[in-house]
């Protein structure tokens, strides 16, 4: 989870990721940030995030992203 937080803080250090549960729907991250985020997550965790995972609910909070990463790792 720390590694994921590091990735997020690098993209935008001004968001409190421990409390923010609306990263996408609340427009905290724009589409280019999300593009960078997805690329960096794939690199760091050695996973592929297919189109079925690209939904707001999977990126709205750190917890949701972490759960998604773990599920993809298990599936792979």
């Amino acid at each position: 989870m720390d590694e994921l937080l590091e990735i997020l803080e690098e993209i935008n250090p001004y968001i409190d990721y421990s409390t923010e549960k609306n990263l996408i729907d609340g427009k905290c991250l724009d589409s280019l940030s999300i593009l960078t985020l997805i690329t960096n997550i794939c690199d760091a965790f050695d996973i592929e995030i297919g189109p079925k995972w690209m939904r707001n609910e999977n990126f709205n909070s750190v917890e949701a992203m972490w759960e998604m990463i773990q599920t993809i790792q298990e599936e792979e």
């Binding site: 280019l32 940030s33 999300i34 593009l35 997805i38 690199d43 189109p51 990126f59």
Partner: protein, 494 residues
């Protein structure tokens, strides 16, 4: 009423019960649009006619009603971006000297915070006053957009009813539109490119769907939303199209109803467009070229045939209401492969830069390149004709530099670097004081390359004098509010 307003009024009556504008939460029919706009117009009319009216352009259906209300009142509107920094908003308010500003309660608070002294109006304040038909000339101003001026002072470009109508007639002649179209709007209403979507809806009776901004972050959801709303036509900025291509949702879901995808505002990277073309080969793809100083666009190029990753799409040919002349040192350029600055002549040209006769006279001028004098707009864009007679963008004239005795187009370096498989997007600047060409680049997904490696690859494609003295890899290139690469922000990093 002007002919434009008369035709819009006719559409509203003809398509009464059909949806005019829809967002995720709400929708208004053409009858409601006409009724609400006329009610508000009666109130605006109290503040006079021929005056600028500020309209906060939130991404809801309301600005679409408010814009029309301003037209019905005999005034012209100025879309205001609610996210503008306070200083910029202040500068625009000072320059425009609004007769009143229309918005919602949230916008009212925003203006109150910056001690805005003018009148503020919400739709709730409409009364039972009767709307009266305004007296207007065909070339009465319809709207004004503020663009960033090179000096930092916002620059208002004023466009007339006649200019908008001229564009619509030419565009619809080339690309027939019916009331069955559903337009998927991406560009915010304060961005001039959205005027095409808005007026196409008003003149044809098509539906304008305002796609929620956050959908562009998750292409899978975007595609589903487009299918849910049965979107048939979209005109987006290349950045939005590129992001969708990079996250590639097409193996899971495709936009089933989309028949036309147009793009405008910057150069479309072919490697991203090719992903769309291979996933959705039956769609019509069209590259558009326009300027803020003109209503709509002036050139179009339908993408057919093969284009490689590094190829640059032509701007194509003029719409029937425009004439473009390439001019080099006062002489007309007609030979393919020779570069000239683009001069546009058209009834769709803007009236003026607001309150700036000097700048207006410098950019809008009368010249005779054959067939008598015409009013031209000097674009500052350099172009050539290819062998097929298509116009091809070369560079901005102000991105042209003299370096080591050679005349160099920075755009050419960008085109070569952008064609490398490792580079997603790039921007080339010139550090005059150090006489150094600096290339900022953003790498493609899952690509690893060092600055030294990129430099080495460029060496294979560029003459020695054109090689950047410095390559800087950035996580992502800064973009301005319109989604274009923010050159000013990059200049600050030099």
């Amino acid at each position: 009423m002007t002919e434009l307003l008369r035709q819009i009024d006719e559409t509203c009556r003809r398509c009464g019960g059909r949806t005019a504008i829809a967002s995720r939460e709400e929708r208004v029919t053409f009858s409601e649009l006409r009724h609400r706009a006329r009610c508000l117009a009666a109130v605006i009319r109290q503040y006079g006619t021929g005056r600028p009216i500020g309209v906060f352009a939130n991404r809801t259906v309301e600005p679409g009603i408010w814009f029309l209300a301003v037209l019905y009142s005999g005034n012209f509107y100025v879309p205001l971006d609610p996210q503008l920094p306070e200083e910029k908003l202040r500068a625009i308010c000072a320059d425009a000297d609004f007769a009143c500003v229309i918005g919602n309660d949230k916008n009212r608070e925003r203006l109150a915070e910056m001690s805005f002294g003018g009148r503020f109006l919400t739709e709730a304040e409409t009364s039972d006053m009767e709307w009266a038909e305004p007296n207007m000339e065909e070339n009465a101003p319809a709207y004004m957009v503020y663009t960033s001026g090179s000096t930092g002072k916002p620059k208002g470009v004023l466009k007339s009813h006649a200019a908008i109508l001229s564009f619509l007639q030419a565009f619809c002649h080339t690309f027939p539109f019916t009331q069955d179209e559903v337009i998927g709007n991406q560009t915010p209403f304060f961005f001039d490119a959205s005027a095409k979507d808005y007026y196409l809806m008003l003149i044809t009776g098509a539906t304008l769907e305002v796609i929620p901004t956050e959908k562009f972050s998750m292409p899978t959801e975007l595609m589903e939303y487009m299918n849910d709303r049965r979107i048939t036509y979209a005109c987006w900025v290349p950045t939005a199209i590129s992001i969708v291509a990079q996250l590639n949702p097409f193996s899971l879901v495709k936009p089933a109803y989309l028949r036309r995808l147009f793009f405008v505002g910057e150069v479309m990277p072919m490697k991203h467009l090719n992903k769309w073309r291979s996933a959705l080969p039956e769609i019509q793809y069209v590259n558009l070229y326009g300027q803020s100083e003109l209503a709509g666009i002036c050139c179009y190029y339908e993408v057919t045939g093969e284009f490689g990753s590094g190829d640059v799409l032509p701007m194509g040919r003029c719409l029937s209401n425009c004439r473009i002349d390439l001019v080099d040192q006062g002489n007309l350029v007609t030979e393919p492969g020779k570069t000239g600055e683009m001069y546009i002549s058209s009834p769709a040209l803007a009236l003026e830069y607001y309150h700036d006769p000097e700048k207006t006279a410098a950019s809008f001028l009368s010249a005779d390149f054959g067939g008598g004098p015409r009013r031209y707009f000097r674009t500052g864009d350099l172009a050539q004709y290819d062998e097929a007679g298509n116009l091809v963008f070369v560079a901005r004239s102000d991105y042209q530099i003299k370096h080591m005795g050679h005349r160099i187009e920075l755009g050419e370096i960008e085109a070569v670097a952008g064609g490398l498989s490792q580079i997603d997007r790039c921007c080339c600047l010139y550090q005059a004081e150090k006489r150094k060409i600096v290339l900022f680049c953003q790498l493609c997904d899952q690509t690893e390359a060092t600055e030294r490696e990129i430099h080495g690859l460029l060496r294979d494609h560029l003459s020695a004098y054109m090689l950047p003295g410095k390559v800087v890899i950035v996580d992502r290139l800064p973009l301005n509010a319109n989604g274009k690469i923010d050159r000013q922000a990059l200049k600050a990093r030099l």
